[in-house]
């Protein structure tokens, strides 16, 4: 049996297991066991994948399984992974694992909470392993819809509004994607043979340039909505701020990466000529995303809003790098997805834990927390340093690669865009250091904060696993970037053939 099936089966089994639990404790234990297995499976997949590659297996896709689903329309259930999807699987497994422990204290309808959360993760896993556009789209929507319930039921603040806004905007994006997918499908076989949704088959077809130009915006904007492309990012701050901790983690950490991954794997890979033609429009938009997100974060006082805007900025950088069309930048884009995924999940987890203790998320209402909760404070500092790109952490590796790649374009337009985007690092440093300074250092400003206890074991586990990820990538990035580079070969061939 294909090991990738486990990525879908384990969540489903976990959900069934949760249905048979009796109390909160059992729900948590079952979820934790399930997602631990999921993490182990993901680790095995990564190691196995690397072993296969080392053994000289150069097939484009490993662990492939292809079944006919709807024969008439030639829809297949086709799964398989390359270096990039393997990396994304690892990220997802890590974030959902940490997410389960970060939501250890959900009291209201815990069973439903964990079921919906795990269902969402199943959708994400399915998306990353799909090689057929139809199943990919199906899993995409499975990953989006549970957000509505998760934010709406367990969220805080204006949760009803945020949940509805987020769901409708993301589904609006998926509506655009749908039109784009149908366009790809009906142009997938110009010689009149059977049409197909298979990504690898469509990639071999030379789609006429006017068709490409028509459908590229649908796909890129459609996925871009989820990747927080300016001006379609407005769901993100509201959504993240209202969502419960684990959902923010999963959403910023993984779900937004679906957008970047889709832009890369579907829009740019399948419609390269149009991507090349129209890149300048989207480059401007992504540059705005990057700088606007960073400046937005500077202005915010609410921890979650700060992090949400920072996510807009970092995810904008992903799309920015994809549009550079060279190997270095694309490599950086994927690295950035992984790095930001873990980092932002860590941030949201910590924010949830801090909020649980201080009952406020406003930076200016907290002070001197380092003294009472050293573990959480140090973890926050580590996340912050990774976010502003300090060497030794994952953020540095990713952003450095992106900017080096982007700067390889010698023309003024790309250079200017790169410089503007790179200046966001300064803004990042401002908002990170400001939060650290105001919230963690200084004197304790309220007497009740003296009573605060440091992280519990499950919180340590949650944050610790993510910190491990950040530093592991920061210290030893080569295995990851090698894996990604090999995965980039097909798209680079297409892009080079074009010039």
């Amino acid at each position: 049996m294909n090991i990738l099936f486990l990525l879908i089966i384990i969540p489903v089994l976990t959900i069934i297991g949760i249905l048979f639990t009796r109390d909160n404790k059992q729900v948590r234990v079952v979820s934790a066991i399930g997602m631990t297995f999921q993490l182990i499976t993901a680790a095995v997949i990564i190691l196995w994948f690397l072993a296969e590659r080392n053994a000289g297996n150069t097939a484009e896709i490993l662990f492939a399984s292809n079944y006919v689903w709807y024969e008439t329309l030639n829809i297949h259930f086709y799964i398989g992974v390359d270096g990039i999807s393997v990396a994304m699987i690892g990220l997802t497994a890590m974030v959902i694992f940490a997410g389960i422990f970060a939501s250890w204290q959900v009291e209201d309808l815990p069973r439903e909470f964990f079921i919906t959360l795990i269902l969402l993760s199943a959708g994400v896993f399915g998306f990353f392993i799909s090689l057929d556009l139809f199943t990919m789209f199906l899993f995409y929507e499975i990953a989006v819809i549970p957000m509505y319930l998760l934010i709406g039921i367990w969220g805080s603040g204006p949760r009803h509004y945020s949940a509805m806004k987020l769901t409708l905007m993301l589904m609006g994006g998926s509506a655009l994607i749908l039109v784009g997918l149908l366009g790809l499908y009906f142009n997938s076989n110009p010689d009149g043979g059977p049409l197909t949704f298979e990504i690898l088959e469509i990639a071999k077809v030379q789609i006429p340039i006017n068709v490409q130009l028509f459908f590229f915006p649908f796909l890129f904007i459609g996925f871009g909505v989820l990747g927080a492309l300016f001006p379609f990012h407005t769901w993100s701050p509201d959504g993240h701020a209202s969502a419960p901790t684990a959902v923010s983690m999963l959403h910023a950490g993984v779900l937004m990466k679906l957008g970047g991954y889709g832009c890369y794997r579907v829009a740019v890979f399948l419609l390269p000529e149009a991507a090349h033609e129209m890149a300048w429009i989207f480059l401007i938009l992504t540059t705005i995303s990057v700088i606007y997100g960073a400046l937005g974060a500077v202005w915010q006082k609410d921890l979650k809003y700060i992090n949400a805007y920072s996510s807009v900025s970092h995810c904008g950088l992903v799309l920015f790098a994809i549009l550079m069309f060279n190997e270095t930048a694309m490599n950086g884009a994927i690295m950035q997805m992984i790095s930001h995924g873990i980092m932002t999940a860590l941030f949201f987890a910590l924010i949830g834990m801090i909020y649980g203790r201080t009952h406020t998320r406003y930076v200016n209402e907290m002070s001197g927390l380092m003294k009472v909760m050293p573990f959480l404070a140090v973890a926050y500092v580590i996340g912050g340093l990774a976010s502003l790109g300090l060497p030794g952490f994952s953020g540095f590796v990713a952003e450095m690669t992106i900017f080096v790649g982007a700067f390889q374009h010698a023309d003024t337009f790309h250079r200017v865009a790169t410089i503007i985007a790179a200046s966001s690092i300064v803004a990042t440093a401002v908002y990170i250091l400001r939060v650290v300074g105001m919230m963690l250092l200084g004197k304790i400003n309220k007497p009740e904060y003296e009573m605060i206890t440091d992280a519990k074991w499950y919180e340590r586990l949650s944050a610790g696993s993510l910190i491990f990820g950040i530093t592991a990538i920061g210290i030893a990035p080569l295995w990851l970037s090698n894996m990604i580079t090999k995965g980039l070969v097909p798209i680079m061939e297409k892009l080079l053939a074009m010039n």
């Binding site: 008439t72 329309l73 749908l178």
Partner: protein, 471 residues
């Protein structure tokens, strides 16, 4: 055996007569006893319908049975069976106790009418079937005649039916006048796009548009749906509508296949109008029956996307979508019916906090609404996706874009109901209750259909085999 060709209709006539006879001899205080036998008999008819049987023509081509018509009839009987299950609780109410068998008789008659309509080989049979399918429904809509709204619904429905039948007949008469025949086979060859035939087609289209409630012929729908008892509303919006949509599609694909250029534009425009206006009106509804009425208008607009494809893919998808729609809409109506029977509440904000008291009902409702909205992995997603595919096959990407944007509007109002059930808190929610066994069986069938039909692709492939060569 020639008689087996007509077995669906004959069996239904048989059980109708049996029920009529039993009704005569049943003492007044034991009328309720007829419910279970009636349902069992109908269940047997339903199962017999699935057995393989002969196909062919009768009465010199007036009556045609093909594998496709058999399938369509089976879809309708399954739907009607679920409606019956859902109405038991309501029939047992005190005020309905003296007219239980009438309910079955009227409902079976309409079903017989629809089956003749689906099997028709000429316009006369088609019209007879259509009338038989319509008139008893008006009586059913006025079933709770002591309620003003129900009586009003019945009267409205009969007037609208008469009007639309008149328009339809006028169109048919002009078709007869220009082609000299009523047989579909003959009419196909006679239609060449002459001005009078175009007029005839417009009358025919308008008449059918009333029945399917296509914008701008939809105005009767909301009032009738709101006034009629819930189960009749669900019957009207699912079974009646499904039957009319299917025969309409077949007629467009076969009889009017020579003037596709003409009806393509008409369908294009009405599809956009129907989706958009249906959706926009649904946004503001508080009463769930009205809400579902407008949502079902919008759904009809989506079905037109499959029709406009004019391909085998389109035909297959229309029938597939009707099948999906039967289960999804009956699921939603089933929940509304159960709650309305128990508590008399049918407004969206009455459902606030329903999940915390009645989790299973809420989950069923959510599943049904998601299927109507087209959210994976439930069946509605596949139906909608294939409808869009059918329209995209013709290159109508703008239409597809309008349609997908409409699904977002639709998602918004479906989520409003989900929001009420799951998100909203309520100090006095509908209390926990255990619904009756029949309703639960009906809802379970709906849930099974919603979940299985999409993921299990042989259903679609099976329909696709039957639609081969229809256009």
């Amino acid at each position: 055996m020639l008689i087996l060709i007509m077995r669906h209709e004959l069996l239904l006539v048989l059980i109708t007569v049996i029920l009529l006879l039993v009704e005569i001899f049943l003492p007044a205080d034991r009328k309720q006893k007829i419910i279970l036998p009636a349902i069992i008999l109908f269940g047997i008819v339903m199962i017999l319908g699935f057995l393989p049987g002969p196909t062919g023509t009768l009465f010199g081509g007036m009556y045609i049975t093909t594998s496709l018509t058999l399938l369509m009839k089976n879809i309708l009987t399954v739907g009607a069976f679920i409606v019956l299950l859902q109405s038991v609780d309501w029939l047992k109410k005190e005020e309905n106790k003296d007219k239980i068998s009438e309910y079955f008789l009227l409902l079976f008659s309409t079903l017989i009418g629809m089956e003749y309509m689906l099997s028709s080989g000429d316009f006369l049979m088609f019209y007879l079937g259509l009338e038989l399918a319509t008139i008893p429904v008006a009586a059913l809509a006025a079933f709770e005649r002591f309620k003003e709204k129900s009586a009003e619904a019945g009267v409205k429905l009969i007037f609208i039916s008469a009007l639309s039948s008149g328009i339809l007949l006028y169109g048919i008469s002009m078709i007869y006048g220009t082609t000299g025949t009523l047989y579909f086979d003959g009419v196909v060859n006679g239609i060449d796009g002459a001005p009078l035939q175009i007029l005839a087609f417009i009358f025919f289209f308008a008449g059918m548009a009333f029945k399917i409630s296509i914008v701008p012929f939809h105005l009767w729908t909301a009032d009738v749906y709101e006034g009629a008892p819930v189960n009749i509303t669900s019957y009207l919006s699912v079974i009646s509508k499904g039957a009319a949509v299917m025969i309409f599609t077949i007629l467009l694909f076969t009889v009017f296949s020579k003037i596709t250029a003409l009806w393509e534009d008409v369908v294009y425009i009405t599809a956009i109008l129907t989706m958009t206006i249906g959706n926009l009106f649904a946004l503001r509804q508080q009463n769930l029956k009205r809400f579902l009425a407008f949502s079902s208008i919008a759904q009809a607009g989506f079905i037109f996307l499959g029709i406009i494809g004019q391909s085998q893919l389109g035909m297959t998808t229309v029938i597939y979508f009707v099948l999906v729609y039967v289960f999804s809409n009956l699921g939603a109506f089933g929940v509304v019916s159960v709650i309305a029977n128990r508590t008399g509440k049918e407004n969206i904000d009455d459902y606030d906090g329903l999940y915390r008291t009645n989790p299973l009902l809420s989950l069923t409702m959510m599943l049904a609404l998601f299927s109507l909205a087209g959210i994976p992995p439930v069946a509605g997603f596949f139906g909608k996706f294939f409808l869009f595919t059918a329209a995209a096959e013709k290159g109508l990407y703008i239409l597809v874009l309008i349609a997908v944007l409409n699904t977002i509007i639709a998602l918004y109002y479906y989520l409003l109901v989900v929001k009420a059930m799951f998100l909203n808190r309520n100090d006095m929610p509908i209390e926990h209750f255990k619904s009756d066994g029949y309703s639960r069986l009906g809802l379970a069938l709906c849930v099974a259909g919603i979940v299985i039909i999409g993921i299990y692709s042989p259903v679609y492939e099976f329909i696709n085999q039957l639609t081969f060569g229809i256009n």
